[in-house]
């Protein structure tokens, strides 16, 4: 692994966005992901290398989060740092010079307006190297289906926080599987369990964002 990848991964993991950012205090005054990515491209490093550093950094912080060694604020700061680096990759994503591992459509199911857990998963999955299409909250079956139509070959993630809205996952999964049987569907949220996920026909369940990335890496990437 190159020194650059390691340096960028460290900045992502620690949430170091740019030279001006005060967080984390021990890296104050040092370059962050924004400068590192910019310099890398100027020096002719491959854009893939930047993506590699981002994925590694997010993987590390995601693993810490799963083990309760890091908490949501650190995960969010890491995601912010990742985004700062990824901004420099946008033209390469658009031109196809840098390819993501796949597309992940995510939304909170119909009837539910909670979005923080869903947002966390979206950020970590993006940091895992996937393009994320966030449909927001209160997402109807029709909206999920339309997004799958628009993004052929995508995987789908559904979130719910209430037992009353969790049940809406089943109908949506059924509709997806009827029309797009090959689509991988992951579910999560406070009341959701592995048993419930199996019962409603989901292809995967994870209690944390990193678990979702692990499933996607195994089944899609």
């Amino acid at each position: 692994m190159s020194e650059f990848v390691e340096q960028l991964a460290l900045c992502v993991e620690r949430g170091k966005v740019n030279r001006e950012s005060l967080y984390p205090p021990d890296l104050h005054g040092q370059d962050g992901t924004d400068e590192l990515a910019k310099q890398a491209l100027e020096q002719g490093l491959k854009p893939d290398t930047i993506l590699e550093g981002c994925i590694l950094g997010m993987d590390r912080i995601g693993a810490k989060f799963s083990e309760n060694k890091a908490f949501v604020p650190e995960l969010l700061m890491a995601a912010k740092a990742m985004t700062a680096a990824m901004t420099h990759l946008k033209p390469f994503f658009q031109s196809g010079a840098v390819k993501r591992k796949g597309t992940f459509v995510i939304g909170t199911v119909a009837g539910d307006l909670h979005d923080i857990g869903k947002n966390l998963v979206a950020m970590v999955v993006e940091g895992g190297g996937f393009e994320v299409i966030d449909l927001g909250t209160n997402v109807t079956t029709a909206k999920f289906l339309a997004s799958i139509e628009e993004h052929p070959g995508c995987s789908v993630g559904m979130s719910a926080l209430l037992t009353t809205t969790m049940v809406n996952m089943e109908g949506t999964i059924k509709a997806i599987k009827e029309k797009y049987p090959e689509t991988l569907v992951l579910v999560g949220g406070a009341p959701v369990t592995k048993q419930y996920a199996d019962k409603i026909g989901a292809d995967g369940y994870s209690p944390d964002p990193q678990g979702a990335v692990a499933i996607l890496n195994k089944k899609v990437a």
Partner: protein, 258 residues
């Protein structure tokens, strides 16, 4: 705190400044033990607190039911004897109640909207913290009202139980509809969706038992929901010795026992 009582309904209006605000609460709520949290959390906490008051519209209240009836484990309230299947855990705690109140509390949609705006602008970190502060604010407001009720009942020689909310300790969240059917329309500005979600989201509701045998206990010791998101924060709270009694994950609807 402005308090008004009409017949069996008591309503409160509170200002944000009347509530207890403590950064240790936020630190514990987002998962840290005291001393381990990044300093930026404290800094942002104070920034958010200084701007949160003008965005809150805090209202709460309860309806007192002087008579309650049990049909096996169902608690029946009101003239139509509306039956609440609170589940075994809550029923065991309320079985010896002589009367009860149904309560609700909301801080309005201001902080929720602010949080969403920040997130939509790409500042998930600040948006998340605003959401967490909003959760703490509902809890704090509810405690003020609960404390007022407790004092009122103490003067009458009575004690109160925990607040038990639909969605926790085995009480189905769908019973929110029954609960709100016994409160005035649009009580505290709260409405329910078909999926029993309270709007504004930063709202709380539940039941409190009253009687000489009632007591406030550690609800997590009662509950058998091992995967409950609140458990982790209760543990964290104990470790940090944060004084406030809360145990929520930001973003969750406020329906727990506390």
């Amino acid at each position: 705190m402005i308090r008004s009582t009409t017949a069996d309904i008591t309503e409160f209006s509170l200002s944000f400044d009347e509530l207890d605000h403590n950064p240790a609460e936020l630190i514990a709520l987002v998962g840290y033990r005291d001393g381990e949290a990044p300093e930026i959390l404290r800094t942002l906490y104070y920034e958010i607190i200084s701007a949160a008051g003008e965005r809150c519209h805090i209202r709460g209240g309860y309806r007192h039911f002087s008579e309650i009836e049990w049909r096996e484990t169902d608690l029946c309230l009101g003239s139509e004897k509306t039956a609440f299947a609170t589940g075994k855990i809550i029923a065991a705690q309320l079985q010896r109640a002589e009367s009860a109140v149904l309560f609700a509390c909301s801080i309005g949609a201001g902080l929720e909207t602010w949080s969403r705006q920040l997130m939509n602008d790409g500042d998930f970190f600040s948006g998340y913290l605003v959401d967490a502060v909003a959760s703490l604010t509902v809890e704090s407001a509810m405690h003020k009202i609960q404390d007022d009720l407790e004092k009122d009942q103490q003067d009458k020689g009575q004690k109160i139980s925990n607040c038990y909310s639909p969605g926790h300790c085995g009480w189905l969240v769908t019973e929110q509809h029954k609960l709100f059917s016994l409160l005035p329309d649009n009580f505290c500005g709260i409405t329910l969706t078909d999926s029993s979600l309270m709007l504004p989201i930063k709202s709380a509701s539940g039941i409190i038992g009253i009687g000489p045998a009632m007591q406030r206990v550690d609800a997590c010791q009662l509950c058998d929901m091992n995967r409950c998101v609140f458990r982790r924060f209760d543990k964290s709270k104990q470790e940090t010795e944060a004084h406030a009694v809360f145990a929520k994950k930001p973003g969750d609807q406020h329906h727990r026992a506390f």
